[in-house]
Amino acid sequence: MLPFQYYNIIDAIVYLVAAIIPAYFILKSRNSINNNNNLRKLTIILIGFILLQVIYHIVGALGFRLLAKGFLEPLSMAALLLFGVMYLISTLKTKNNNNNRRRNLRHDKYI
């Protein structure tokens, strides 16, 4: 076994350990009544990124370098990009809502 294959296996295990947390949150939010849809979507995208990383490292360890580096790694990065964009949109939306609420509160006070 080559050294880079060892590193790939370690990476896959470490990412699997990280995937436990978002997976737990998805399972937990399934049961709760008060669902936060944005946070749930973000968690699903994050777990998608982590699992793609796991698959990429396993495939890399098996020796399919072209499939791993040429397809799975860019795909996992696309998932991370989606996560970043969704996070940005949610943050900006929430800030806009906050500002609107503050404005309305001020307006109500003046009245």
Partner: protein, 130 residues
Amino acid sequence: MINIFENNNTVSSYYFLHSMNDLTLILSLIPLIIFIWLAVRSKSIKSFQFQISIFIAVYILGTIIENSNRIAIFSTLPPNIGSQIHVGSAIFFTIMMWFRFYYAEKRGKKMIESDIDDNDDKSTKRSNNN
């Protein structure tokens, strides 16, 4: 045509891998910029945005060094250092997730800062604390 399921070392697959590495780099740079911008706005080292931007930065560094046969400066580095940096970034990511989970459970807070959460939750928490 390149068969991605085969492990061949032809010239065409070499160029294909290099172009895909460049694509990966571009794809990972965009979320890095987004999270750095959000981290600067949040003005806190403890924020999720700051920590994930460190993870992405280390990951990108690992990727650049791993594909360093085109850059002369990195060719002097010991072999597999790129893979080792990748392992380091993965460990950092995992520790970050578990620590955030541990402290969120301990303090009864949410794992990701409340920018995304509903404001109603915040106000109910405040009223409960008062």
